[in-house]
């Protein structure tokens, strides 16, 4: 497998995951707003917090209202995390790796790109926005379906899964972080703050998995522990890192990543939200994200550098 191709596959998967995560996040948040009583809505600003997008947001908009935030997340090309930008980047990476991917994969990615490109600007009303996001989520699932069922689970697949899991671990930790910060804010009533954790589960499509594993009661510490430490849920941080580690070990030249991965895994296995203040948790997530950045760098050094 060519280093340059591995790099493109890795990024293609990261971008596709970003499309899916941003779509799910926006979808869940729109629904969350519908559930909150008038007057106590937490505002749309926190979605911009999640993607660290204040700088480019402020350049274009004054108000953090629903319309601006959604436009920024869905359609703005100068927002590197927007659905439209990520989809374009994903397509560009598929376009240059078509020879390794199943043919249907290119067609679906291209189709989704065309769909996003021609509809992203139109989704002002909630109804059309939800329809749009629904379609994006369905198509993303279809693309992954094709990849996992028609691409050999070889190096190409491993690099894609590594990209995907790194992006996913990153996004999961950001979603938790925003929930933590919203809870710390203290402006919400007690009732609203329990919604935060339920909403967190929804943004990660984790509601059913949580109920089956933990139970029907949504408790802040249980939710955070589940999202961080569950061994079987594919969006939990522990799971993402475990699969990432397994994939990296199947490749040659993985030695550099072993140590940091083992130490991250050990730290996660000792993780317990009930023993941390919200402030501590926020710091913990900060450190964790720095480690993800370092992992990305090691991936480059081990396999992509020329």
């Amino acid at each position: 497998m060519l280093s340059s191709v591995a790099e493109r596959l890795y990024w293609m998967a990261r971008y596709l995951e970003r499309v899916e995560d941003t779509a799910r996040l926006t979808y869940a948040y729109t629904q969350f707003i519908l559930d909150t009583p008038r007057g106590s809505e937490p505002g749309w600003r926190s979605l911009i917090d999640i993607i660290d997008g204040h700088e480019s947001f402020d350049r274009r908009y004054k108000n953090y209202n629903e319309r601006n935030v959604c436009k920024f997340l869905i359609a703005d090309l100068d927002n590197m995390s927007s659905i439209r930008h990520s989809m374009r980047a994903a397509r560009e990476n598929v376009r240059t790796t078509r020879d390794v991917l199943p043919e249907q994969c290119w067609e679906l990615v291209n189709e989704l790109y065309i769909y996003v490109n021609s509809n992203a600007e139109k989704v002002k009303a909630r109804q059309s926005r939800l329809d749009f996001l629904d379609h994006v989520l369905a198509m993303s699932a279809q693309i992954y379906g094709v990849i996992s069922s028609s691409l050999s689970h070889d190096h190409a697949y491993r690099f894609m899964r590594m990209g995907r899991n790194l992006e996913r671990a990153d996004m999961t930790s950001r979603v938790v972080d925003v929930a933590v910060m919203t809870a710390m804010d203290g402006n919400l009533g007690d009732e609203a703050s329990t919604w935060i954790w339920g909403h967190l589960l929804k943004s990660l499509s984790a509601v059913t998995a949580y109920r089956r594993e933990v139970g029907p009661l949504v408790d802040a510490n249980d939710v955070v522990n589940f999202v961080f430490g569950d061994q079987n849920f594919p969006r939990s941080i522990s799971y993402c890192l475990a699969v990432f580690r397994r994939d990296s070990r199947a490749l040659r030249n993985h030695a550099q990543l072993d140590k940091p991965l083992i130490s991250m895994g050990r730290k996660l296995s000792r993780f317990d939200a009930s023993k941390m203040s919200l402030e501590k948790l926020h710091q913990y997530i900060d450190v964790f994200q720095e480690q993800l950045i370092k992992l990305n760098l090691l991936v480059y050094q081990s396999w992509f550098s020329k």
Partner: protein, 482 residues
Amino acid sequence: MKSFWENYRSPGFFDELITEKGTARPAARKLVNHFCRLDPGEMVARGNAAELAIKEMGISFTIYSEGQNIDRSWPFDIIPRLIKASDWAMVRQGLTQRSRALNAFINDVYNEQKILADGLIPAEVVLESKDYKKPCIGFRPKYGVWAHVCGSDLVRDGGGTFYVLEDNLRVPSGVSYMIENREVTKRVLPDLFKNYSVRPVNDYPSRLYSTLASLSPRERKRPCVVVLTPGIYNSAYFEHAFLAQGMGAELVEGSDLFVGKDDCVYMRTVDGPQRVDVVYRRIDDEFIDPEVFREDSALGVPGIIRSWRKGNVAIANAPGSGVADDKVVYAFVPEMIRYYLKEKPLIDSVKTYLCMLQEDLDYVLENIENLVVKPANESGGYGMMVGPHASKADHRKFRDLIQKNPRNYIAQPTLCLSTAPTFVDGGIAPRHLDLRPFILQGKNTWVSQGGLTRVAMREGSLVVNSSQGGGSKDTWIIEQRK
């Protein structure tokens, strides 16, 4: 809507589907009947379906316009062009013969130069051509074959006879569109196939792989073949990716390859360097090796020519093959066939006037308004002039150009290019077309079933190049009922 077809005539030209009297040719009868049953609305719907399929399949080509790269969807006409298998058999033989002679010629001019010594072709035509590459002198590739992939442009005249208009021996493109055109027809007009036995075209990538694998310097069950592309901004990038995928080969750019201390070519992989046996290159000679050709080339692989000359890697087409691509050399192909193969040419070339010869030059200057003038080594239809369609000012301009550099120009009579019914502006109208079959030569020689039919979409136009607004058609080689 019968009237579409009832009123269709293409006076003065050979039409591929309809006779002069306006009836369908026997082989095309069922096809024409099928289209007759589609009303205008349905024709438009099928056309749109084809357009959508092309967009979704991502069949595109890149054009340069005002300094920008624009990715355009591939232009496609839904009415296929038909050729009887018995007619095609003759063409295939002619093309095989031609490809063998051309390769014998290239091998000769880089080695013994017998044909030049015997005076059949003026030596300066070959040796002073910018496509005669000195670094290739004295090299003998496997099987004596230099041009492994050849795309020859064929046209039919008023009587329906096939002629070769030019041979493309450098990096001919278009084969992926040949295959995709069939895919699109299968998607949007599946019923059309019911009454016909159409020869499939999708085996091309595996034929190409066999041809390339036969060139491998190492005896291996599965030699490492790569497709070398200039990158995403090349107009044929779609095709490079398509062929790499079809062959299960890596699609590489120059920076993915390097030449090791042992003068072998390697690609950079996630497992470390891996040796490459065959490079199917889709970049021009000038850019392939900055150590030998253009120093400023960032697309090529430094040292690859050294590795090739040592026999450590095969390059297809071999560097220097373009020497036979010259339109002046083209005029001598029938001579080559008689000289090298001791055979009679089975397929004709178009009468060609060489401006380097005084007699021909006089004729060309005198009759320029009736001739097609072409530069000797350009492709893509650039820099040519179609006399009858050009202005007086253009005639003057080309007379000047020719006189300044006669070696660089040839002229040919304006051909009555054949036509075929084409769906334009909501109706059926005759449009001129050509055909580019693909010839593979390695250990064996093979010719594609049909090829890429290109259509001039403007009324009366003879320019079929997609970079200049040409379209395309699916091409059917059909088996006759026994």
